[in-house]
């Protein structure tokens, strides 16, 4: 492991293009997935990760050297990288896959590992999970593959001059603060921060920022899935409620249902 000089922290932020959280999810006609012909945006947890990287630099400009956004996804994932650049990341890396390709968490973790080994990063800030598949496993897998420390579900993050990192985690019954050293993986929780808007001047600047593009095979990566989706179905429809005419009737119904 190379020595971590505090003045040379390079941050990598993996960002996923996922179905916009406000979209009503529909099962696709083949029953093997969901309808993806809908509005997509950056995974909200990843947006928080980008924001946190930028805030770290704003607080300690001498510590953070660079912020790079990485996305694995179809050609349109480049929009997601541009959003990160418009928020304040410096450059982007795009690993392109055909539309509707499923990339499993282990493949994502391997890809990020490869990028880290090639480009030298000291800190990875990433969403704790993506809101589309909700796997929530990439961060942990990546830490395991690299043998780095990890601070998951971060609600507060600080870096000291000597490269010491404090991560506050919200756990049942209180807060847990862990201390680690760079290099490390941090996964973000909702309360870490509130992402900023992309301002017009920054959107314009983002157009001129560099995005490197790779195919998986360029990097010696194999995204062949290990799982097969058998079927995807909608949850059972909720039964409509009924109205009661009086308190007595309500009590009787509740007794009938065994609630009281």
């Amino acid at each position: 492991m190379r020595p971590t000089l505090p003045s040379l922290v390079n941050i990598l932020v993996p960002v996923k293009r996922s179905i916009d959280y406000a979209v009503k999810i529909r099962v696709a006609s083949d029953g093997k997935g969901v309808d993806t012909n809908v509005k997509h945006s950056m995974n909200p947890f990843d947006e928080i990760a980008v924001e946190e990287a930028i805030r770290l630099r704003e607080k300690k400009p001498s510590v953070v050297t660079s912020i790079t956004a990485l996305s694995i996804g179809p050609p349109k994932a480049v929009d997601t990288i541009r959003t990160a650049l418009a928020m304040g990341a410096d450059s982007g890396i795009h690993i392109t896959v055909p539309e509707n390709t499923v990339v499993e968490p282990i493949s994502v973790a391997n890809a990020i590992k490869k990028i880290i080994q090639d480009k030298k990063f000291d800190l990875v800030i990433m969403g704790k999970q993506a809101i589309d598949d909700d796997s929530g496993s990439t961060g942990g897998m990546l830490a395991g593959l690299l043998g780095w420390g990890q601070g998951s579900f971060a609600s507060k993050l600080t870096i000291e001059q000597d490269g010491k990192v404090n991560v506050t985690r919200e756990i049942d019954g209180g807060l847990e603060i862990i201390e680690s050293k760079l290099p490390m993986i941090v996964t973000t929780d909702l309360r870490l921060n509130e992402p900023r808007y992309a301002s017009l001047p920054n959107i314009m600047k983002a157009k001129k920022k560099k995005i490197e593009t790779f195919k998986p095979e360029d990097l010696g990566l194999d995204f062949t899935p290990r799982f097969e989706t058998i079927s995807v179905s909608e949850p059972a429809k909720r039964q409509g409620g009924g109205k009661v005419g009086s308190v007595d009737e309500l009590v009787a119904k509740m007794k009938e249902a065994g609630i009281i």
């Binding site: 959280y21 959003t83 509130e194 017009l200």
Partner: protein
Amino acid sequence: MSIATRSIARLASARSLSRRAIPFTSLRRAAPVVSIRHGSSLPPRSDKFAKPTQDHLTNLKSIASSTLSTLDGSATADELKSFNDDWMNKYHGKGPIVVKPKTTEEVSKVLKYCYDNDLAVVPQGGNTGLVGGSNPIHDEIILNLTNLNQIRSFDEVSGVLVADGGVILEAADHFLAEKGFIFPLDLGAKGSCHIGGNVATNAGGLRLLRYGSLHGTVLGLEVVLPDGTIWNGLSKLRKDNTGFDIKQLFIGSEGTIGIITAISILCPRRPSAMNVAVFSLDSYEAVQKVFAEAKGHLGEILSAFEFFDKQSYALVKKHQEENGGERKVFETEGDFYCLIETGGSNSEHDEAKLTGLLEHLMENEMVLDGVLAQDSTQFQSLWSLRELVPESAGKAGSVYKYDVSVPVGKMYGLVEKMRTKLREGGVLEGDGNKDGPIRAVAGYGHMGDGNLHINIVANKYSDEVEKIIEPYIYEIVSENEGSISAEHGLGVMKAPYIGYSKNDTSIELMRKIKTLFDPKGLLNPYKYII
């Protein structure tokens, strides 16, 4: 997906109050403040109308499927309050009988009976009006159309929807959304208001810039006339030049010449791609220039152009701070702000157009700063900057609200004149007058429609302040060839001021039309044309 999605949704709703739900409910919450201001005297009860009796009720019960009344004990006076009071809780009628017919035939029988017995009638939809037009003033029979709520037909090729007048606007829009179409009208009260009432009041709202007024989108109407005659004008034709276009008379007639029981309306396809951007600008001239550029660059995808001044934005920021939802939006703030929404069918095409506009505005330094929504959460929270102005003003004090329309170029001049007038009157806070009762004069509105809302925030309602504002505000609107009621209508509140917007000949013609349809003057009396 569930846990994460739910927590995200919760976060989103906390940080951005949804534009769909908030304006209506929030105004409701602010209502008690407004209720203090019912000093303006109401016309006395007219003796030409019969007083509703037990006998009348018995007869009405035999022809309508549902009635509520204090006369037979089927309801208490308290239970009739929601029918008798207006939505702002400013006007309080004493109608003892509510009739809720289920079919057009029933409406017809009820009106015929009332006509034969000289009973005055107030037609009522969702009762969400802002000028006291949909509740009784005295003891009029309340004809509520809630039960007339069926979708009759929808043609997926032409987009023509035919539905009962009592269908709730949001229900109609949900029905259309399933089929990929959109109702060409959207407004804050959509969860309660009826489409029949929308047509009767010629409601404006948020989509007018894109889809035009109801005078254009409504193709036909079914109306019950005061004597009970059913007029079937439910045309589905876009072109029909055969004689007077009678339906136009009913659009915006506020229930004074007939009751709309069904409408036929042309609905456009629902846009699948939406974008929103908000800018800060240094002058009202700059807002106008951006409006012109937006129309040029965006063409048919421009779906809203709203503006608000720094006083409005300050009110919203303060309100958001108090609720913990504030968030820095602009690096550089300005004296004015504008919001642009686009809606189209192809997101790449729309984004290319929007980006072209943004680049042009930035390169030519026509705006100080701006932000572009990156996802649906931001879409909602940027909209809320504009949508929360009325609520934020309500939270800051007692608000005098005016809804006027003037040529776009003269819009903001009205706000400035109002400020000057209040400053001269010594009631405006600031300029060494720390205790002035007026805390803020905020201007905002639908720029695309020339519709300005002026909100004057006072520490309390007072005659002194009201005398400075009225009728001065109507005078300056009149001088600028504007309308004293852009989209709220006349009702009982603005009926006395119609002369500021219409000349004597127009008013005389309106009186003749009223008499032609309703010779006994039974329908929605004391309002509109008095």
